[in-house]
Symmetry: D2
Subunit: 388 residues, 4 copies
């Protein structure tokens, strides 16, 4: 596929994700972590306009000079911006405005990408970064839409028009053993693409360990709830225990108990909890507490990456017990793009794998996702490990 075809295919998928929404669904921001869908639509467009068209497409005229203020996410290099938690206070630009913006930039990109043959490798890399950036926002769109509608008191159903995968049930537990040794993890830079935070393939020493081929299931997690796990401080980090008490947490996000029966919210509405499915929407605190209760532990990111070929993965992002830190030799790009990853490397945990909401082909064994410990609006689950 040409870059132009990839671009158009990707941009169409983004719109498909939003296709079933009402205009009002594009606007709200019930918590700071969740952005309004129209903000995602505008921001990904702004990314191509700001970092590709403006510096590289001669004669490109900005669609609306004020949009830089509205759609810049966190790039200090590029100027002032709407405070993150105010994104849900903006009714303008409207969804129709944002679609016009997308069409305008897509037209310009369509023309620009016909000259692909003349692109420098740096420009080609930048474009591929832009595509991967939009793929990340596709997943955020899916999770944010679920949050917006899943926290509406009407708990509405909503159609999904994208290639949403079926999630297989978890099979019977099976342990995979990995022998002690020095292994290599991280990306080499020879891949089609990777983010800067994956680069710097490097050696790590791992002791012998075992990990489960499968994720933890709803049935397994339910046993923790029924054993009183949310009421026993011994399984929790001090910060996790404060979180449980302050927020009144008693189950994963989107679990609802109706007439003594657990239900789970999906685009099809509330449905009885499917026990065989991998447990989802856990915070790091919950994943860790569950492992404590089992007398087992979470993986490190290196353990995960080394064993990745042997695992069933892809329906849930897996909390690891690794903090999100730079790999040896990590350096940030000089330009605004240097703000992409590095400046977040504090107080976050690495998640590995991929989820049912991840754009197909987006993730890979070296991929490093990261969130703060209390986050659970992503499709997050866990896998258990132990030492020999």
């Amino acid at each position: 596929m040409t870059l132009r075809e990839k671009y158009q295919h990707l941009r169409a998928r983004t719109e498909a994700i939003c296709q079933g929404l009402e205009a009002e669904d594009f606007v709200v921001q019930p918590i700071g972590d969740v952005s309004p869908p129209k903000w995602h639509l505008g921001h990904t467009t702004w990314f191509f306009e700001t970092f590709v068209l403006l510096p590289h497409a001669p004669g490109y005229a900005v669609f609306n000079a004020q949009y830089n203020y509205v759609f810049n996410s966190y790039y200090e290099t590029v100027g002032a911006r709407v405070v993150r938690t105010d994104r849900g206070n903006l009714s303008r630009p409207t969804v129709a405005d944002v679609r016009r913006y997308r069409a305008y930039v897509d037209d310009a990109m369509g023309v620009f990408l016909t000259t692909e043959q003349a692109f420098s490798s740096a420009l080609r890399e930048l474009l591929i970064l832009g595509l991967n950036h939009e793929e990340q926002h596709q997943e955020l769109l899916i999770t944010d839409i679920k949050y917006i509608l899943g926290h509406n008191p009407l708990l509405p159903m909503y159609p999904t028009h994208y290639d949403k995968p079926a999630v297989p049930d978890v099979a019977a537990g099976q342990w995979v053993s990995v022998p002690e040794g020095v292994y290599e993890i991280g990306a080499t830079g020879q891949e089609d693409f990777c983010f800067d935070n994956e680069l710097g393939r490097h050696k790590v020493y791992l002791p012998a360990y075992q990990l489960q081929r499968e994720l933890v299931s709803n049935a397994e997690y339910l046993a923790f709830i029924e054993a009183g796990g949310y009421a026993d401080f011994r399984y929790w980090h001090a910060a996790g225990w404060e979180w449980v008490k302050a927020q009144g947490i008693q189950a994963p996000l989107y679990w609802h108990q109706l007439a003594g029966q657990w239900h789970y919210y999906t685009p099809e509405g509330l449905a009885p909890l499917s026990l065989g499915q991998p447990v989802c929407h856990l915070s790091y605190y919950e994943a860790w507490a569950y492992a404590q209760w089992r007398g087992l532990r979470l993986l490190t990111e290196a353990e995960w990456e080394v064993a990745a070929p042997l695992l069933n993965w892809g329906s849930r992002w897996e909390w690891t017990e690794s903090a999100y830190l730079p790999y040896p030799g990590f350096t940030k790009a000089e330009s605004a793009i240097g703000e992409y990853n590095g400046k977040f490397m504090v107080d976050q945990l690495v998640l590995r794998g991929a989820s049912e909401a991840t754009t197909p082909g987006h993730s890979r064994p070296t991929y490093r996702n990261f969130f703060q410990a209390p986050a659970r609006w992503q499709f997050t689950g866990l896998r258990l490990a132990r030492y020999n």
Copy 2:
């Protein structure tokens, strides 16, 4: 006019106020005081459904049982409700849903009101309360829409499709003298309509005083700004001075200084400040500080009411220095309607008059509006007074 005609005329005006909005404008709630326009549309409808149709229209079937949770404002009697500050997190019901709700209730009301002849006087009073309630929300719609769009970084223009009055410039200052005496204020209960907080016509003693026939103008208020009024604690309440410093207040709401020139935001967008217009969008703190600076004072609500026939009033709600307290003999109704006014009689100031956003015919000399001291998203101004 029959009640049915009044109802239909009023409901149509509410829709006219919103006619120029985009769907997205109906959804957001940038501050707790401001409700999303679709919430106002639903809430006023819910008021008729809950207090009129359900108890009085035989066989009336509720449109959607979940709407009670969504559209109840503050009636504890009627059950649980969305936390006020979460109104802007709800994308559903959509604007179209709310319009269907309005149409459904309007149809039922249309039929019900054909039986007006059979109504008890209590039911008639309730209906007129419902109409006045919706008039109050018409003003809130106008102020909330202004806030939503006036705080959008794009500062958009927007069409207004309702009977918006022209506000005359303020004429030269002129003092009105009122002699000492015992006067009566408050409603007698013989009026066509009044709120319960106006009832209990009662005597008050007033010393001789003087007050200005006209409101304070932008030109006059600008002199206060230019004299450094916002930087001199001596003119402010202690709480007002904290507010000025904490919020960085330097001018009334919607004033913007561009290239050294003051502008003011209106539905026509930003325009140079019109010096002859009455100053607008002041907090109580600002109104009081201005009066201090002038060596004058605000009115009490009794002084205002006694002098009302002699004043030019109607374009700005006027902050008085009267706290919002019950009149002698005030009692709350036993039912949910008893929650309408009485429970707010603490920590609020009375405003008298009416504003350019008030529904024509809604206010009267005995009318008691009330807000907290820092509020300034209403069309609020001031009038000066002094003792002889």
Copy 3:
């Protein structure tokens, strides 16, 4: 008594109030409203140093120039100061330092006051203001010490070394009737002393009303608790109801239920609740809710003042339903002293009477005390009224 005798007598009483404390008790500030006792000791001394000695006593040398920053309460005119809520973070100056400061200023005042004959009337007024100011802080010392020790988990007893009056039990209820009429309230300026907020004797019209000769008793208030008054929103202001729910309020401050029996904290420690005593340590919300439950009301401050000669008053400050507003013609002094009262005239309620903690002779029928609606660490109670 000469001014010098009055001064010395008063200052000695302040020290007597603190005599039973440990050094540590002088330091803490468990809530913003409560100041550390050593701050009161320093602040009242600073008042005499700053407003009397420095401008009027030739050659007076400041004890420590940094104390102005530490002991200024709220006088913007006099410069920067420690943030109020940080008073409890200061271990220095120590109690011994503060006592040295007091001794130093007392010595200087002792000398200065020997020249009383030469004082201008303005200076004499200022001195009397200083004495009354310290009397106010005597009451605050008593209430703040009670709060500090009454919120310590050890609930310690503590000796009181000042002239603490016995509070008589409340007698059987008796109604006093006041006929309709125009009355005068406020101070004339011919009194020995009054605060600026009492000045401007003025006429008020009062309808006929009745009020109770006695305060509400613990027994009466307990009936409200036992009737579920704290769980029924109908008796509460909206703001009061939020306060009850957010704070989990179920009884007046210092009430503790042990083994099904109500106790009350005093300097003698926890004791079984004395049913005949006037109820104490209520917020305005609670006083108002109680009156609502009884189908009665609180007094206005004018009603209280007119009837004062007929009432038993003095053991509890009585919440009135009057907001704290300026009297007709109120003006602030030009100097720093002008900040004493006027700038607080917003969002506060007037309390009338006096309490068991008030310095004997400090209050009078025209006296206007004021606090915010949720405050209950003062000795606050209520009296009931009704219209004829």
Copy 4:
């Protein structure tokens, strides 16, 4: 030395640290991280009473049963406790009470420790843990006292009566090289003592790297300030940049600019900044930003431990870029002591080394200290590293 001698020596040193304080200095808690000195005195005593005397000394009678509530720090196993941020609201128990408590427990311990010969090894380990625990609180006492007095507006001097080491100036920069390899870190369990978080000696692979023999000096850090480092977002984590802006940070803690000259607060009061001393009182954000500005990096904890014999260390805790995570095979003790370390292993950074405030002999190369990224009231500095 016998355990008894060690105990008595240690307890005496704790008192020496506090010897120069006024009673008031023992009481306050200006920020949540800082505990009142008398709380430290009581808490370390409570630790011996609760975990040693009560379960192991037959017939021991608790000094005061209410002290468990007052002096429990974070042991959920042992019951309810004063909210951490309320420690500074407690005037009782007084300093004298706490000293009586110490004397009482010291007497009982003195008797108990004469039976050392009969102790099980588990009991002996518990006692040594208690000693190390008190050593940790000795350092906290030193840092908390500095904070309490260093944030008092009087900036008082205070005597120190303990063995306070002189801190040598930093020598000229010198790089130490460590070759690539698999190394071992962590404690073996054969040491005289270590904390549970050090246990599990395990292999790590390290690439070749270089690190500075010396800490970064004040002179070097000052160059960062003067180059505008606090005003340039490029050097900061996103969270660090928010912190700098929200708190208005412009220099390390305890740096004061007077008349254009930098000063530093010490027990001798404010003194001109000594340029040769190692920089101190940095947050992790600042340490990381400084390294970014230099084009270098912080160490990992494994890199530090492997190189420890080659380094000058001991005057500043050194921020590493390692998150505080469990070592392979880490398990918590079953009892309350299991709450000592493990439950804090999230959102904290490891610091290595020791500081001028660390009890002599307390630290060792395997020691893992940990704090949150914004903390800077400890004696924290940094060392630079780079890859070959």
